[in-house]
């Protein structure tokens, strides 16, 4: 474990602002691919790619791929913020 690292009040606030911005970005994408896009499923279903009606495909696979990528991306983006502020462990 790292020794006590103390951020100043301002640094702490700036760190949390950046972290919060990332969180809201991720949640916005999550909300779009989790809900918004599916509202249009009946219309998207009119488009068909290699047999898949696209509205169906997003609910069955497309949004899932986005969720997986989103988890990995957000964790590496947060790591970068941590490094920038020098608050990583060890």
């Amino acid at each position: 474990m790292a020794q006590e690292k103390s951020l100043s009040k301002e640094q702490q606030a700036a760190y949390w602002r950046r972290t919060s911005t990332l969180m809201w970005t991720v949640l916005a994408l999550w909300f779009f691919f989790g809900f918004v896009i599916h509202i249009f499923a009946p219309q998207l279903n009119n488009i068909n790619i290699i047999g898949f009606p696209i509205g169906f495909w997003f609910a069955a696979q497309g949004s899932l791929v986005v969720f997986v990528v989103l988890c990995f991306w957000s964790s590496s983006a947060q790591n970068k913020i941590d490094e920038e502020f020098g608050v990583t462990e060890d």
Binding site: L64, F67, L70, D90
Partner: protein, 597 residues
């Protein structure tokens, strides 16, 4: 190894160890396949499969036995992100995911995709809102966090109540699932199968707690994913020439759409938000989105999942392991729609419209097993019509090996996979319940002076007690319990999501606010469930009670915020504590009364 922490050589060699294990498992499957060709009866193959896999889990459980509290509760916090992801995958995917989900997709078409979406998307919330902060907090259980953040026993007890009500019905359903799989596929009587399953669960968890459960769950994930993929990969190769079902089932969807027209089926497989007549229905759309919402929030609130992120070596690893978790879950979930589509293609083209005397062999075989598949010639014309065949949810995955004309050994493999899915989820749930009782109730509230030895004895006695209770309830075959599993998500969402998330993200949340929010949210949810399910209360805005969290969650949120603002802000010390768990580095600044291990 007993009594000491995991040796570094074990952690460094995990890849080699599990690689060898996977190779051995494939080898055993091939040997069993050869034995089948040599004339060994199916029943023997099935029993060997079950006995061998449970034997391996028991062995892992025995090797991982421990006498240390941190090993027992959080696997010594040494589990690398990748393996914690696998363990979470099998912790998460239950008998329902493995056996029933593809069947639901078959029966419901687009409507069933709510489960696929809801059971994956929640991990995005776990990754950003909770896992890293709970890991930094670094105690043993989810109620621990509530106790530390909100101070005192009341929030802890409320957390335990929500945890128990969400997890117990869930674990009963898993034990029930083990009994069903074993009795259907191997022919052991249900009552005995329940106890075989119980034994399988206890040998994994009792001696080594979280440490044993972790390494067993990794082993179980490997078996369940192999077992899930093989039959449908082969079926895809047979039907389309390419062994990539996840990509090739588009062709099956096309064929289904064409056949639906020919057979006069109004509700198309891939049509979104339609009622039985095939027309767009706003109510269907709202219920679909509500279900997705509740399942996602519920995922991020279920303690048996959250506690897995206490086991990683660091905050950074905890975050990364959420990514691996959803990846390993994704492998199964994005295959399930392919299972459903290939099965439907087969049924529409080779079963319906055929003379009843000449149905494919798999139909005849499964119609002998009670309740899974029934064929009734209602109009007496000797030809099978659309309305004359009824399929149970569970049949799709179970019958796919036979649809593909594969030997029995593949069916045995599927049984072993289903068993692994049910056992691993049961292990995780059982541990979550027993740990809440032994750590939070006994140690934190009743006897804080208890020695390590006493604590671990109490933990094990409670574990056995809860397991036996679950088996006894499962033995009564409570139909209602199985449907109650889906409620667990709404209950957990309404009761735990707000206090956990606001506890990290909003410093102003006070103890009174959190407690009031939990009581109100959970209460509304429970009221709606019980009222609509048992007392004929009308639905609110047509929302089905499976999504009762849709009402509970906003109530919990509003009550928490309003009551928090009405009560004095948390102390400076508490604010420092929150600041300290928000950053990965540095020490956690516990508030005075909160004990640190």
């Amino acid at each position: 190894m007993a009594g000491s922490g995991a040796s570094p050589s074990f952690i460094n060699n995990l890849g080699k160890i599990y690689g060898l294990y996977t190779g051995a498992f494939v080898g055993v499957t091939i040997v069993l396949g050869i034995m089948e060709q040599l004339g060994v009866p199916n029943e023997t193959i099935g029993i060997l499969f079950v006995a061998l896999t449970i034997g391996v889990y028991a062995l892992i459980g025995y090797i991982s036995r421990t006498a240390q509290v941190a090993e027992y509760y959080v696997a010594g916090r040494v589990v690398p992100a990748f393996y914690n992801g696998m363990a979470t995958g099998s912790d998460w995917m239950s008998a329902a995911s493995f056996i029933s989900m593809a069947g639901s997709l078959y029966l419901l078409g687009y409507g069933g995709l709510g489960f696929v979406l809801g059971w994956t998307g929640g991990y995005v919330l776990v990754a950003t809102l909770l896992a890293p902060y709970l890991r930094k907090f670094g105690q043993f259980t989810v109620p621990d966090f509530l106790g530390a953040r909100y101070g005192g026993h009341v929030p802890r007890v409320l957390g335990i109540i929500v945890l128990m009500s969400a997890s117990f019905t869930y674990v009963v359903a898993q034990v029930f699932g083990v009994g069903l799989i074993a009795s259907r596929l191997i022919g052991i009587p249900f009552d005995i199968a329940v106890y075989v399953g119980l034994l399988g669960i206890l040998v994994c968890s009792m001696l080594g707690g979280m440490r044993a459960v972790t390494w067993t769950q990794v082993a179980q994930y490997i078996i369940l994913i192999i077992a899930y993929l093989i039959p449908v990969v082969i079926l895809s190769a047979q039907k389309t020439g390419i062994p990539l079902p996840q990509l090739m089932y588009g062709r099956a969807l096309q064929e289904i759409a064409a056949l639906e027209g020919k057979l006069g089926i109004a509700r198309a497989h891939s049509a979104a938000f339609v009622d039985a007549t095939g027309k767009f229905s706003m109510n269907e759309m709202i219920n679909f989105l509500a279900l997705v919402f509740c399942l996602m929030i519920g995922t991020a609130s279920l303690p048996h999942i959250l506690m897995r992120y206490f086991t990683t070596p660091s905050v950074r690893e905890a975050r990364k392991s959420v990514g691996w978790s959803i990846f390993f879950i994704f492998l199964l979930y994005f295959t399930a729609p392919a299972y459903a589509a290939f099965a439907k293609w087969e049924v529409y083209s080779n079963v319906i419209g055929q003379p009843i005397a000449q149905l494919p062999a798999w139909v005849a075989k499964w119609s002998e097993v009670a309740g899974l598949l029934t064929v009734k010639d209602l109009n007496g014309d000797g030809i099978l019509q659309v309305g004359e065949i009824t399929l149970n949810n569970d049949i799709i995955v179970l019958a796919t090996p036979e649809i593909a004309g594969l030997p029995y050994v593949v069916s045995g493999l599927v049984a072993a996979g289903g068993l692994a899915a049910a056992l691993s989820t049961a292990d995780g749930l059982l541990l979550a319940i027993a740990n809440a009782l032994s750590h939070d109730v006994y140690y934190k509230m009743i006897n804080p002076q208890a020695s390590t030895k006493v604590r671990l004895i109490v933990a094990r006695v409670i574990l056995i007690g809860v397991a036996v209770a679950a088996a006894e309830v499962a033995k009564t075959k409570p139909a209602v319990i199985v449907s109650m599993v889906a409620w667990a998500f709404s209950l957990a969402a309404a009761g735990l999501f707000v206090p956990l998330v606001l506890g990290v993200w909003w410093k102003r949340t006070t103890s009174a606010g959190a407690c009031a929010g939990m009581i109100a949210g959970f209460g509304i949810c429970l009221f709606y469930l019980i009222g609509t399910q048992f007392y004929g209360m009308p639905l609110w805005w047509g929302i089905r009670n499976i999504s009762c969290g849709l009402f509970g969650l906003p109530v919990a949120f509003i009550v928490t915020v309003v009551v928090s603002l009405m009560t004095p802000a948390p102390s400076k010390e508490m604010q420092d504590f929150i600041d300290s768990i928000r950053v990965p580095g540095g020490k956690v600044k516990h508030v005075e009364a909160v004990k640190v291990e």
